[in-house]
Amino acid sequence: MDDLIVKTIIRIVTPFIYLYGTYIILNASASPGGSFAGGAIMGSAIVLYTIVFGLAKAEKKVPDRLGKLKREVLLCFILMAFVVVFMGYDVLQLREAGAYQIAYGEKVQVEMLSLVNMGIAFKVAVTLISLFHVFIKEDH
């Protein structure tokens, strides 16, 4: 797409879309939104970049090594599996040990950098970007 106005606007707007997605992922435990929505926003930023600037420039931003790194990606998913299992394991037993009991009127310490949230968001963003790149590569 060779249009100066569209290119300039997208070049200005893309960092703010990233920033918005990052904010939603960091605040996924406390505010409306959640990690699925944040991952979709960050993925759609790169999809927008690909539509305007073309595939060759976008692949410099996101290297398309997924076809060669299948085994490593599978290992990453299994690692995330264990993270989810250990963090969500046996909530009731934790409660009986008095781990998280909070009294009325007390301020809740919300976890900001949650590994599971970032994993879910990463998963959604990677899926959107790689599917779009694979489909658009068929045209060339």
Partner: protein, 98 residues
């Protein structure tokens, strides 16, 4: 005859679904069967159990974490399936062309 037969079948299906929908309980009634003790437990204990005020994230992350894990497997399988369908035998094709 065939031209009118297919829409008639779908209209009949729509009528059957409307009649069955009339038997469901009304939307928004707090006494619905879907508002059972599971939802009450999630809302009352989400902060104590998981320190997460957003209840939907609490359900996704902690109470049903294995569900979310297998969903990651579904996404990974879909990526691998699309890549292998679209360019599974790219090498073979290039060898043949040579």
């Amino acid at each position: 005859m065939k031209k009118f037969f297919i829409p008639l079948v779908f209209l009949g299906l729509l009528g059957i679904m409307f009649i069955s929908v009339m038997e469901l309980p009304a939307i928004g009634d707090p006494e619905n069967p879907s508002q059972n003790e599971v939802a009450d437990y999630y809302i009352e204990n989400a902060i104590d159990d998981t320190k997460t005020p957003n209840t939907v994230t609490a359900v996704l992350k902690y109470y049903r974490g294995i569900d979310t894990l297998l969903e990651a497997g579904v996404l990974f399988t879909s990526i691998v399936a699309v890549i292998s369908v679209l360019r599974g035998n790219e090498k073979k094709r290039s060898i043949k062309e040579e």
